[in-house]
Symmetry: C2
Subunit: 184 residues, 2 copies
């Protein structure tokens, strides 16, 4: 059964930039009527929940122009063309934090905004962290401050809305769940 | 300290639609250099984790044109102009599922894609559900199938990527955490 499907009748590209492409689609609805869909295409991204041997969560403070504010997030970045998510995770972790890791495990993948965008985020757990002496550099338009937080501190950041985005709130809740399951 | 801020030098509106607006901003970076930012403006949204008296999670199956596939999500919808999130949650729950609820509690709010969009989602927990006889109708371009899942079924849906979006994966993990904390 897939009676919910919408058929594309016409698609127009409005904008194509460095990060996103905007398309307007005319679609046929399941009842035969027509509607317009505003669709943002995005290459996809990875995010890395990196936990140090001292059980600290590695986060980056970053100004987000879309929000006009600075928030604290787990390291993340866009997939380059043809790049495997796990390789992207390794690269972004090193660029944003200077850490390399022994293991990377995919925790989950999710679409961030299925109502208007195809962006998917793959969230990895990174363990066995060591600081690299000469890590790869950030993109030239990226500026971040490194923070290392205990789980309690991260939960406090969520409460204070310093941590305020889907992937990081998911990651903090993931660690809370692991802690609760271990304590059982 | 807010040395990470980016100053807007110029902003151009590329598109303004029913759901999103696209702006291209020229910004001054913390080091004085310039960059372009692609920014999607969105009115914000609510999502409702509605749990029945039989401990079933109310979900809706919906075709998402941006993904070109049907996924299963907790009920959600865009904020209307000036609408309080809690009122929007009540309205969307009724429109999408036919349920009204006794209580609504804000669980969290998060930005879905801070790298390019200002969309925020407010996630509510709805309890005390009863079916309404003549519920408010869906928008004319919305088509959904109702599903009611146990937590185990919802976790299975996450595994099978039928549940595949940030707010729903957060909501399922939230219930897993509550279960683990109760079992302690």
């Amino acid at each position: 059964m897939n009676s919910l499907e919408e058929k594309t009748l016409h698609s127009e590209e409005i904008f194509s930039g460095k990060i996103i492409t905007l398309e307007i689609q005319d679609v046929e609805l399941p009842n035969g009527k027509r509607a317009k869909r505003e669709i943002v295409k995005h290459p996809g991204a990875v995010a890395i929940l990196a936990v140090t041997d001292e059980n600290k969560i590695v986060m980056v403070e970053q100004y987000r122009k879309a929000l006009e504010k600075t928030i604290v997030e787990i390291p993340a970045g866009k997939l380059e063309k043809g790049e495997e998510p796990v390789n992207c995770a390794r690269r972004e972790l090193e660029e944003e934090t200077g850490y390399v890791c022994e293991s990377l495990e995919l925790l989950t993948s999710f679409y961030t905004s299925p109502g208007f965008a195809d962006e998917i985020v793959h969230v990895f757990l990174a363990k066995g962290l060591t600081k690299k002496e000469n890590p790869a550099a950030l993109d030239e338009d990226e500026f971040v401050n490194l923070e290392e937080l205990t789980l309690a501190e991260a939960q406090q950041y969520v409460k204070e809305q310093k941590v305020y985005d889907a992937k990081t709130i998911y990651a903090v809740q993931y660690l809370q769940l692991q802690e609760a399951l271990t304590a059982k």
